[in-house]
Structure formats: C-alpha cells, structure tokens
Amino acid sequence: MAENQLEKYLPLTEATFAILAVLEEPMHGYAVMQKVEQLSLGQIKLGPGTLYGAFSTLEKEKLIEMVSEDERRKSYRLTERGRRLVELQSHRLEILLGLRRV
C-alpha cells in the first residue's frame, strides 16, 4: 500500500534516520540533538542548520508533526507515516547487515 510510496525516501541519511528514531517521544530541537549524540555514543552530531532544515522537510512530508510550541521552541513527534518509514529503513539495514554473515 503506502510502503511503495515510502520507499522513495530510502536510503535515509544518517541525520534523518537519527531524528526520526528519537522522535518516538515528543521533543524540541535541542533535546533531539542531545539525545542523538548521547544514544550514538558521540558518533552522530547534528548541527542546528542541519536540524532546522530536516525539521522543515520532515514536517512538510508529514513524517513528523508539531505537538506543541511556546514562544521559543517547537516540539515535534513522529507521525504514523514517519514510524512506518523508520521500520522500513531499519528492516532494510538489517538485510544489508545480513549479507555479512558467511
């Protein structure tokens, strides 16, 4: 069904995947940066320019949605569509990793 529609987004950049992955929980921008750096053990860092662009694009594509906003910050969360995309990419990555098994 919509899976074919979502496939056009693959492969996701690391930044995109990272952002979608942590937005299972609603969060604002800087919290996303910190969470991604923390969970990736410092391997993946997101710059504010990158994050701002990603939020705009992901919101436009309805992969994330704004859940709340105060005068300073917006909080986002995954949409159902975004969740399916993360599943799709994760599955794809598992298949790739599987190729390494002798």
Binding site: Y30, P48, G49, T50, E71, R73
Partner: protein
C-alpha cells in the same frame, strides 16, 4: 566606556562564504571580533582578547515567529547570532561552549543552504537582464552607460548562479 571600533573593507563573492568564514575566524584569533557587517564589504570589529571562535554563515530568509524558533535552536546549540544581512545569517561559537562545532553536519543540508540562493539569483538576474533592452533603447549617453552597467550586473548574477550550481554539484558528489 566607549569601545574602539575597527573597520575593514573586504569583498567576498556569494560562493566564497567558506573563505569569509575562515577570514572572520582568523580575525578573531588576532583579537578582532565581528560586531556588524553592512552588506557592502565593510566589516566592523571590536578589539579584544584573541579567541578561537568559529564563524559560520547560513542563508535563510525567514521572519516572525519562525525566525525566533530558528534563532533559538542555534542559541541552544551554543551559536551566537551576530547579524542578518540580506538573508545571510552570521553566527559564531566558542569551541569551549557546549554544542556541535559545525552548523551543518552533513552534505544534504549544505546543499539545501546553497539551493535557497538559486531562486533569488535567477529572479534578480532575469530582472536586470530584462531591463537592459529597455534602458538601451532610450537616447542619451547616460542611458547607454546605465544599460551597460545593468548588463554587467546581470552577467555577475549569471556567474554567481553558475558558481553556486557548481558548488551544489560538487557537494552532491561527496
């Protein structure tokens, strides 16, 4: 107490933003810290202690509340906004402060930044070029000269557009 201000004149083309960033960082290392830029080559610095500050430029036109969100995101990440000049956003960060030392951490977002320039360059280029034929038709040396200047400006925009396009293609190949 009045702080001495030091002005420097330097001209960077649109596609030389990385050189501009490096130059501003170099100025900071010699104790000159950017206070403002007038958009036409005049940089105003405040003298002070030498610092290893990182300067980075973004290109984005955004207003109102959306602009506040944008600036707050950078501020949270440790980046100080110095000035906006015609869409160019000047940021600086001290490496000692918490947060990422780059504003763009992947190529896709760098490409987005340069892509935002294209429509502006195309529109201005087309407008100045369209004006050339109108101006040249008018009798008189003044209009001939004005037509020539208009033409030169549209060539400049065309060259800038090409250079920006090349930069985007270069980034895509990485």
């Amino acid at each position: 107490m009045e702080t001495r201000k030091i002005r420097k004149f330097k001209f960077f083309m649109v596609w030389q933003d990385d050189r501009e960033e490096a130059w501003l960082s170099e100025m900071a290392r010699s104790g000159l810290h950017l206070k403002s830029y007038n958009g036409f080559g005049v940089y105003t610095f405040e003298p002070g202690e030498p610092r290893n500050d990182i300067y980075r430029l973004d290109y984005l036109t955004v207003q109102g509340e959306e602009r506040q969100h944008y600036l707050q995101l950078f501020k949270d990440a440790g980046w100080e906004h110095i000035q906006a000049v015609g869409g160019w956003q000047y940021f600086r960060k001290s490496p000692g402060v918490d947060g990422p030392n780059e504003i763009f951490t992947d190529n896709a977002s760098k490409i987005l930044k340069y892509s935002r320039l294209r429509p502006v360059l195309i529109i201005i280029g087309v407008i100045t070029l369209a004006n050339v034929s109108r101006i040249i038709k008018v009798e008189g040396l003044f209009f001939q000269i004005a037509g020539f200047i208009s033409f030169a400006i549209s060539i400049l925009f065309l060259v800038t557009l090409i250079k920006v396009w090349l930069r985007i293609e270069q980034l895509k190949r990485l």
